[in-house]
Every structure is written in structure tokens, then in C-alpha cells.
């Protein structure tokens, strides 16, 4: 197998990226290890992209099975974290598109997709105030284009700009510009 990284990533990642480099006992163990490290972060990201928790879980299962095959076939193993996010994202977009088709006729569409953060539980006063601010922020984020939402959320999940660029298949400059743009918009919403 060739070791060219471009089949997985458009450019080499910085050495500082969190790369799993040690050789674990078996591919299964390695997959499970990465799963434990990334599952929550992936799922949060998939929720932001618009999947339900259930669909998100399915996408993650599939992603890690693909990772298993990827490893078994001796494919490049630099930055598996970026690989996992990228594959999960692609699967998620497909899933979402087919869900959207099926949901688009429903009146409660907005509620189903956008109402995730707005649970009906009443909170104490200060928490309510806090919650309102948070909800306003999240509402702004949900209104962003998918790519901007992805950039911001992946950054919040601790990925580096360079990694995000690899996951989304866009340039480093585009990622930074996207995050800057989104933060400016959030900043305005926060103040107002």
C-alpha cells in the first residue's frame, strides 16, 4: 500500500495535531480506543449538523466500522481523528438529506430540527437569564450556513483550523474567515 496522505487529506497536518501514533494491540482495540476519545465530540457535532441523536449514533457506528476496514487495508494512519470526522460528516450529510426529504412536508419540521435546545423545563431566574442568552447564541448558530456551523462547532470541539480544513475540504484561510465571520455575528447577537 502506498503511504500517500493525499488519498485521505489534502495536505499534511501539523505535527502538533493530536495524532494517534502508537501501535495498539489490534485494529479492534485501536478503533475502540478512538471511539472512546471521539464519540461524544462527534455526536455533538452531528447534532449541530442537524441529525437526531439516533441517526447520529448510526452514523458513528458506520464511521468506526469503516475506520476498522481502513486500518485493516493498511491505509494511511496519520490524523485518524480528522479522517473520522470527515467520513462521519459525509455520512451525516447524506442521512440528513434523506431525512429532510421525508420531513419537509411536516408542519413540525422546524420544531423537530431546531427545537433541540429548547426543552420545556422551567429554570430558576438566573439560570433562565443565562439559558436565554445561550439559546439566543445557539439560534444564531443554527441560522448559519452549514459550512460556517461546521467550522465553528468543530473548533469548539477542539479541532485545529488545519484539521477542520482537511475535514471540510476547504482552505485554511476559508476556515479562519468562516469562524471569524460567525464570531462577529454571534458577538452582535450577544450584545443586542
Amino acid at each position: 500500500m502506498s503511504f500517500s496522505s493525499d488519498s485521505v487529506l489534502p495536505f499534511p497536518l501539523s505535527a502538533a495535531a493530536n495524532v494517534v501514533e502508537r501501535a495498539p494491540s489490534s485494529p479492534e482495540a485501536e478503533v475502540v480506543e478512538l471511539f472512546e476519545e471521539l464519540r461524544d465530540r462527534l455526536l455533538r457535532y452531528l447534532l449541530v449538523v442537524g441529525l437526531s441523536a439516533h441517526d447520529g449514533e448510526e452514523v458513528i457506528q458506520e464511521t468506526f466500522l469503516l475506520l476498522f476496514q481502513h486500518l485493516q487495508r493498511g491505509k494511511p494512519r496519520q490524523n485518524l481523528r480528522g479522517w473520522v470526522f470527515r467520513v462521519a460528516r459525509n455520512l451525516a450529510l447524506k442521512q440528513r438529506a434523506s431525512n429532510l426529504r421525508r420531513l419537509s412536508r411536516l408542519v413540525e419540521f422546524d420544531e423537530a430540527l431546531l427545537g433541540r435546545a429548547s426543552d420545556g423545563n422551567p429554570n430558576p431566574e438566573e439560570q433562565l437569564q443565562n439559558g436565554l442568552r445561550q439559546r439566543r447564541l445557539l439560534a444564531v448558530v443554527r441560522a448559519l450556513p452549514e459550512q460556517d456551523r461546521s467550522c465553528l462547532c468543530l473548533r469548539a470541539e477542539g479541532l485545529r483550523y488545519r484539521e477542520i480544513a482537511g475535514i471540510l475540504g476547504i482552505s485554511l484561510g476559508s476556515v479562519a474567515a468562516s469562524v471569524a465571520r460567525s464570531l462577529a455575528r454571534l458577538g452582535r447577537a450577544d450584545g443586542g
Binding site: E28, R39, L47, H54, E58, K94, R96, S104, R155, R181
Partner: protein, 314 residues
């Protein structure tokens, strides 16, 4: 580029803070920011906004996260399954299914060795019979499918690799439906129609069609009869449909599904007919319902998300 008297754009400030700029550029920016209260203020604002968003994002989503332990156990189960399968004969096909349940409880048996022609004839007969039994406007509909004869051997060879076409092999994928009514498919309850195909089932579908290892990047494991029209999440109703590279691809079929669903809910077509038409030859059905020989290019709005056109990477 970055001269001392030029302010640093937000995007560069972010990359600078993340240590992802070339050292020389970063040094320039450090020097500038130190002496520029405006840039410092912007950087602080960016960081505080980001911190606030991060907190909100984590807190909001964490409420929705199901247990990781359960998910991990499932993954380990899947992995064990995959590992075992690798050790077995890859050409092994699922066992033959010879019986079909007709709506009124009849059981028809299809001889294993009678082969695909007889199976197809039998299926056509059953469909006609089922349609005749029910006619338009009745409340329940047939469960059809389960018509394939023995599936050992030749199909996988005939369908190997990239030769998959836009239409499923009706011997492997005759279509299968749930006993639902038009009201259920069109009414408020339709919101509860789930369309997620479990990973393990997807893998079986790929295996059945001889796509080993699975290629989820090239094919959508798609419903022949969409759940919107009462299609079942059943291996008999699923096949690997190419995303790209054919005129009659998954996107085109989506159009047909939407149109048929609308027509069924308006009462223009009855559900059984829609199920029959889409399961026997969806391309012919497309031509019929769109009155067009070729796919209509103007697609509906959900495609504006571009998601169906994304290229997954492996």
C-alpha cells in the same frame, strides 16, 4: 504583508492565537497586537464570544447525548461480527426464502430451483391479485416481496464490482411493505416513519450484491419502496443504489418518491399502485408520472443543501 500600521484581520488573529501561522508572520502579528489596543480589544472579544458559544454548545448538546457505554458495546459487537465474517467464505449468500405471505393469509411457495423467471411471474401474479383484491380506496395493503428463489451463487458474480446499475435485481430486491394505509402514510403519524437502515443491515445488503467490502461512498443503501410509501426496512426492500455516474441515480429516484407521495396523498394514485409501480420498474414509473423520457433536471429544494452531491472520501 502585515505592516505594523495595518490592523490584523480577525481571521489572522484567530490563526495566530491557534499557533497555525508561519513563525515570521506570527512574530509580526504579535508585535502589532502588542502596540494596538484596537486589535487587542477585537481579539479579546473574539475569544470571549467563542468561549461563550463553546459553553452553550457543550451544555445544550450534552443533554441530548445518549449513553456512550451502550454505543461502545454496540460497536464492539459489530467489530466482532466483522472480524468473524472475514474468516468465513466471502461468497456465502443468505439462505433462500421461499414463501410469501399474501394479504389474506395464503402462503405461496416458490420452488427453489424454479429460478428467477418463475419467481418473477409468481410475483407479478401476486401483485395483480393483491391489487385486484384491494382496489383503490381500501384501508390495508399487501405485503409483497419475499419472492426470490434460491440466491446462492450466480448473482454475486453477475453483479460484481462497479457493474451495479440504477435498478435493483428484482430477485434480490423485490420490494417489501408494511401493512399501512394511505392515512398513515399521509397523516400526522407519518412523522413517526423512521428511515434509518441499521449498519448491520446495510452491510448485508452490500454483501448480497457482492459489493465486498462495502462502498458506502459510492452507493446509497436505498429503499426500493420508500418508507413514505409504506416500504419496509427489510433486506428485500433495500439495494445499493449508485449516487453518481448514472443518469438514473438516487437523486432522480428521490424526485419520483416525492411526486408519488404527493399523488398518493392527494388521492390521484392509490398506495398499492404506487408501491407496485416503484417496485417493479422505478425508471418506467418515473417516465410515467413525470411524462418525461429523461430525468427532469430542475430538482426540488432540498437539493439546494448540496448534501446529496457531496463526495465522501475514503
Amino acid at each position: 504583508m502585515t505592516e505594523a500600521h495595518h490592523h490584523v484581520p480577525d481571521a489572522q488573529l484567530l490563526l495566530h492565537r491557534s499557533g497555525e501561522l508561519p513563525a515570521a508572520l506570527s512574530a509580526d502579528i504579535s508585535a502589532h497586537v502588542e502596540g494596538c489596543s484596537q486589535c487587542r480589544a477585537r481579539l479579546e472579544k473574539l475569544e470571549s464570544t467563542f468561549a461563550e458559544f463553546s459553553t452553550a454548545h457543550l451544555e445544550a448538546s450534552d443533554m441530548a447525548l445518549p449513553s456512550a457505554a451502550v454505543a461502545r458495546a454496540r460497536l464492539q459487537e459489530h467489530l466482532a461480527e466483522v472480524s468473524v465474517q472475514r474468516g468465513e467464505d466471502g461468497g456465502r449468500r443468505r439462505a433462500a426464502r421461499g414463501s410469501v405471505l399474501l394479504p389474506n393469509g395464503w402462503v405461496a411457495l416458490v420452488e427453489r430451483r424454479s429460478g428467477a423467471v418463475l419467481a418473477a411471474l409468481a410475483m407479478a401474479a401476486c401483485l395483480l391479485f393483491a391489487m385486484w383484491l384491494h382496489g383503490p380506496g381500501k384501508k390495508s395493503y399487501s405485503l409483497f416481496g419475499a419472492m426470490s428463489g434460491s440466491t446462492s451463487g450466480p448473482f454475486s458474480a453477475a453483479l460484481s464490482g462497479n457493474q451495479l446499475r440504477s435498478e435493483p435485481d428484482l430477485r434480490l430486491t423485490p420490494g417489501a411493505t408494511l401493512p399501512v394505509t394511505q392515512n398513515q402514510v399521509c397523516g400526522a403519524e407519518s412523522s413517526r416513519i423512521t428511515s434509518t437502515v441499521p449498519v448491520s443491515l446495510k452491510r448485508k445488503v452490500f454483501e448480497e450484491y457482492g459489493v465486498v467490502p462495502p462502498q458506502p461512498d459510492a452507493y446509497e443503501v436505498d429503499y426500493l419502496i420508500t418508507p413514505e410509501l409504506g416500504g419496509a426496512t427489510d433486506i428485500r426492500n433495500l439495494w445499493p443504489e449508485p449516487y453518481q455516474d448514472t443518469v438514473w441515480n438516487a437523486h432522480v429516484k428521490d424526485q419520483l418518491e416525492d411526486r408519488l407521495h404527493r399523488m398518493v396523498c392527494r388521492g390521484d394514485v392509490d398506495l398499492a399502485t404506487a408501491q407496485h409501480d416503484i417496485s417493479t420498474d422505478w425508471i418506467a414509473a418515473y417516465r410515467k408520472y413525470f411524462h418525461a423520457d429523461k430525468p427532469v433536471t430542475d430538482n426540488s429544494s432540498f437539493n439546494s443543501a448540496g448534501a446529496r452531491h457531496s463526495h465522501p472520501l475514503t
